[in-house]
Symmetry: D3
Subunit: 330 residues, 6 copies
């Protein structure tokens, strides 16, 4: 029988095998390439944390998630798929950014991601802080027009300005609505729970048209019920944005603005699986800040969340979006 100790992709000349824990740390040991002809999905980093209001460090997120993703193996039994075999997926590397200038970074990211959309490649972005969501959505909307957003997050990120500035990780969805990148009435935030600077903060988010599900509501109704609402609400093109601080800091200490009282890693995975029939057009996993991680637990969770979304893409390809019931653990 076969030998599970190494990857064919990681073999060297003369057939030698390199342990999974060694070799170049691409995501899940996928090939690292900028050749995207015929590629289904590209995983890439956006190493920018210049929009952070509290603890920086998310610039190191992409590389650290790659390191931890080496533990991923190819078969996802929960969805019965091998995402990196069933689909053509590459590690596209990190995007060019300008660490000191958010506007320049926005222009660079939008341009680079637009290339992916032009080639019909599904973008899987690893932040960076949440401010990189705006150019990702700009590129998405340039291709698809205003889309629905499903945002798993502890913060609404819909403030108007911060320090008099319009761009930061806390203002990204306010800008996205204003720029008509997203359709707020078909968008939903799930897991919100932070204290808020103003009494009307949640109201103002709802006034934008976005549906807000606090973490209390999420726990009361359950994952399946909230996921069902999201599936009913959204339009036919959905951008999924997963801020790692959706999860409780016990499971994801490595982030910039942690909020206690959140879901577990099990619940986060279940939430994604419950959303598996979402008509996705883009995905980001943001706010992983490795300097605050411990024993790679945050990065390993991030890697598995990306694996889950890659699995969903593969499952949709094989079964269509309504292919069958997938049960959560709830």
């Amino acid at each position: 029988m076969s030998d599970a100790g190494f990857d064919q992709a990681a073999s060297r000349p003369h057939g030698h095998a390199i342990p999974r824990f060694a070799g170049m740390a691409t995501f899940a040991k996928l090939p690292h390439t900028q050749s995207i002809e015929g590629v289904d999905a590209a995983i890439f980093g956006v190493p920018f944390d210049g929009g952070t209001t509290f603890r920086p460090g998310a610039r190191f997120g992409p590389q650290a998630i790659r390191q931890s993703s080496r533990l991923l193996r190819s078969y996802h039994y929960g969805l019965d798929v091998q995402p990196f075999d069933d689909l053509s997926v590459v590690d596209y590397g990190d995007l060019a950014v300008v660490p000191f200038d958010i506007k320049d970074t926005y222009a660079l990211v939008e341009e680079q991601v637009s290339v992916l959309y032009d080639y019909g490649v599904f973008p899987i972005a690893m932040g960076g802080d949440h401010s990189v969501g705006l150019p990702l959505l700009r590129a998405c909307a340039k291709k698809h027009g205003p889309v629905s957003v499903v945002q798993l997050d502890s913060h609404p990120d819909t403030w108007d300005k911060l320090f008099g500035k319009e761009y930061s990780h806390a203002t990204v969805f306010k800008r996205a609505v204003e720029e008509e990148l997203i359709d707020p009435h078909r968008s939903i935030q799930i897991g919100i729970r932070s204290t808020l600077p103003y009494r009307d903060d949640l109201e103002r988010t709802r006034d934008l048209g976005i549906t807000v599900i606090t973490v209390e509501e999420l726990f009361q109704r359950g994952i399946d019920d909230v996921a069902a609402e999201a599936l009913r609400l959204v339009g036919d093109k959905v951008y999924l944005s997963f801020d790692i601080d959706f999860v409780d800091p016990a499971y994801a200490p490595g982030t910039g603005t942690p909020e206690v009282g959140g879901p577990s890693s099990r619940q986060a995975l279940d939430m994604l699986r419950a959303l598996k029939s979402l008509p996705l057009v883009g995905f980001d996993l943001v706010e992983v800040s490795p300097p605050y991680d411990h024993a790679e637990i945050t990065c390993m969770l991030a890697a598995n969340l990306i694996m889950e979304v890659a699995g969903i893409l593969a499952w949709q390809k094989m079964h269509g979006r309504q292919g069958g019931a997938v049960e959560t653990t709830e």
Copy 2:
């Protein structure tokens, strides 16, 4: 629209704004003052860990909780209050203590907290190890007579002596009963789960008259049911004591005597909210030991737990104690 990036309280001459992550680290960036005329509640530290039987370090708890509390913003949507606007609250600084002498510290703490009670100020104490609970209760009882205690904790803290000594963090509630500071028959411990040195330990606690809810019972009955029992049991004056080791060490590693198998941070917050109509006369949050914390997750939880209690005080002021149902996530 407004700018959420800074605090008015933190502004400098000439109207400049200081980011929340900078400036003096008072609790939630409240004013630091010893002027307590007309103040509703005072948050203060008791930087003493001389009663610790295992890992010391709680002396650094108050300052570390303050650091992490800078993430707190003013509005608590769960209770629909802005505790630090709806009430007059100050950061009263740290109390004087004698690191090497528990009796001297007891005298100092009692004297200083009595001043707060004299001025009608609600005390919110940040430990320090749980041994500081005794002088806090002495000051409380001097004002209010024997009170009910609701103790969220993994340990009963009702041993008689330790190393032949009557004062330590493990004997505080035995002493409190003996000194008639608390009414044991209207007091309750919730979350108890540690292994115990003697076969009759729980029995002896119950023999004191105190109701003991183990963590197993808490999980079986649910938070709302246990909270309802506590609300029925207590008298009209309740001292709430929250030992951070009530929570599982995954959520609160930064403590001296962690006990595995405890509630999550979500459940801890829900428990407080379920107790929101308690007629409180004092509160402490103890046993946060920063040298064992990681990425501030314990301190952030502690800050949010204090915010929850401050929110309850504000909610009670606005609605009376029986104002309305608040749902938990359970």
Copy 3:
């Protein structure tokens, strides 16, 4: 009344008492001895991590668990036993191993554990990585013939070869079936959840005859239901193997191959308690890797899990295996 501050066992000449946090770090401060005449159970370390595929360090597991076990006190109220008084239990120290050679280590471990079985001593092994399970099972089978295994784990550990090698922590149960050490049809794996290198990995495990309960199934059915299935399935001699990565890395970061999305520490303890009538003939707790632990939370959990099993042994002695219902918190 008595003084809970120290252990009699830890007293010195002239009756002085040593704090629990000091003195030699034996498991739960038990006597350290190789005299096993009349001993009911021996706790020992197997300090070997030469079968690790990802993060090594489990060689330091036994000593670190001992350190953390100093927090354990003698009475287990959940089972109403004092395992180390109700039974005769010793800390047998660490076994001899050869760090560079897995086969030599296997021979040494089997020989040493066989001595325990010869004396009728129940072995409680602290790993070490999971590869040490094989010689433990060899010694067990030499005494008892093929036994049932209840394996709490996130990985099946049933691969055939790794790097062309038959022995490692990922192949141990495939070997155990081949060597007829265990009866696969009366064995069960609970908590499996990792991604897998091959599409048929779970199938191949099931083809061996072993029942596989994924973590999704565990969460859906609940601990009591799965435990009941295990109790029905097993034969009259059961070897219990607890890989700490059964638990979510938030609760057990200190391990070599963590898998997110697992049970909590509370659920792990409940699972053991629900299995309390298993007819045990051996137990191991493996894969604790202290270099990746934080604030000892993994080691404290491991110590409590061992305490739980010791408690079960005491409970069985007092009540017989079907003595009475023990409720879990689920």
Copy 4:
């Protein structure tokens, strides 16, 4: 005799004393105030790290240095001064900055520091990354015209542009020369040792007119000889800029761009003492990044380096600048 356990400054109403490790964490427990009438020197933070090219986190530098400075006591025996008694020194708090915008931050910092210069207050700035040196020098030059700079650093920080941007922590002294804030011919860099992106990097720095002393030259000639050269070279107004990465990362791991092979903490202190007759008009201590520190050793070093400079100011006040020989340990 007296009692050394607490500070008079930290006393509370009724004469109680607070341990040095507790209470508000101002620098060396100095009063925190924006009142600067008659003040000799003000210590303040510039919590900005938006000019960082590698590891961010220096925004937390000021608060962390303050925490560690609590260990400082009042008497500096090496210079026989009590800087905070011999001079009037305050903790001026942190300056307002805009985390996402370096130009706005520059304007704010210059404005705020100019107020200090207007009042004749000597500025002691705690960074932040080295990019904050530019507005500090702008404020200085506005008062004093072009000044000499003595820069203790492992990097020249004289690049032209980075990512096409003129402002960052690596371009600050190029800009300062261009803006005629400093007199390069009377300025010196000591400790330079990093690898360099271009073959002519050191040459270009020297072409600006600045004297460059590599760490190799520093070790060969010795501290006293290099200090003597600096003292001969500079004009009558000197701005001292101390980048913590001057020191070897063994002594200062908590920094963003560490360079191995540097001086020890002893040598750093000796270097400052050897420069004690410099005619100082401003001082900054930059690039302390607490997320990368361990056990506060970097922050404690930073606090002591600031204490050394405060001591020098006091010594100069008492003795004049040429007051007497101070011996170094070299």
Copy 5:
């Protein structure tokens, strides 16, 4: 030829060998016993940190030093001795202490150490904070009368009172002089460098009669010259007290009150070797605080410093005290 992989002392029944990194963690894997008949020296812990003014944790020092001491092997080539073969040395375990009461602890420690002196056993104490030096000196003086002290330390520890208390780690040598345990005129402090609370602190120490060598003087004169002065100064009975904060925090971060600008680990070892003809009657190594250590570097240094002193005892036994020149690396 022989096999260096294990210790004979650590062998198990049947001749199996246990790796040095495993097994019970006694000091250097010495036998753990309270039998001291005929023993030359006993290594023991004093797990007390109740006299600490800043960071506690030294109560865990003895156990952590033991763990790290497992790396020690038997032959010390620098002195050409095998201390644990040339002498009879045991690990005497930890002394009984009362964590909450310094006076009770003093009585206990004095009593227990007096037993060693009664048996003619040389005491090698592992702290614990420096406050344990007083009962160690009391026991020493009871046997030997007033002795000389050679104190390697960054702090003088000669304050009068702290928080109004006479006993703490900062007052121990003031008390020792008052109690006539030491002969101050034949005692010396080396390495002093902290800032001081009062202008006359060094003067007051010198007024006690103790010779004070600051770290600046130590670096200027060199290790051999200062050691020679110490050797000339002391009487015929010397107690050696080594506070780990003598060493720079880069080498010893794991301590409670670190002071930057100190000697390296090499210099510390050289200092001890240069003192090798001291007529020793007692030794302590104090203030190792494991919660602040990293990668065991402080504990490994502590273990080697103890090994150096044990080596000196062996060397003196073999050669007499003036046996021969040992060169330092200076």
Copy 6:
């Protein structure tokens, strides 16, 4: 003028630039390739730690050194070279190894490195533990016959057997002599300082013919003198082996068997520079164990040491081996 913020090598399609801290982590951002035609030197990892006697983790060394090497820039002013421009150097990736089997690993490593020698490529190996030195030397000797070894190390690594096994990180140079891979009479060990298991350990090493310079001798004679002896001693083909534990653990905590009392990072760099005219035929840098590192200081030192050797190769190419004096800082 130019822009130093990024690497040309790291540019993406359309000319965008990626910050040095991002993108694939090859050594110094060199191209990752197995094409070695015309290549001068190849940097590669040997991710094996199965020969470790104490703390494992060196399997992660290569990837961690690569991460930290991103800080390296191209110009080395000390030698006035740009090694990666003056020479053709590639990152050859990691070699295939078998984590559980040292003999299989030896065969694999020898075979793979022999390919490099066949192509005339200079091998720069990143360990892994020191056991990988043996197959590296086997490949070297196959090409060059017996070579001189210059070993910078705190341990002699010349034991005969360990746990009865001939292969481990502590026996490698004994084997190398026996296999006639090295000429012991023209080989030298520098920096030796550990305690030793047997009285005759150093003697036995010297009996092999190897010159041993202890750290005490190194400090007494100075770097230049010892380097000069090494240069005189060696033959015309030298293999340089740098064990990171040559350096003091303050500078290199991230290693498996640290020994206190060693050289600083400055002295390590100086030592290499003093050896710059060695006729090198191979180089390894071993024993970096990232789980024990802090803030990457060990890995950054390792990266700079490799840069120094690469610089020496470039310097030799440009100047010949006797090109000119390079001064050290000593």
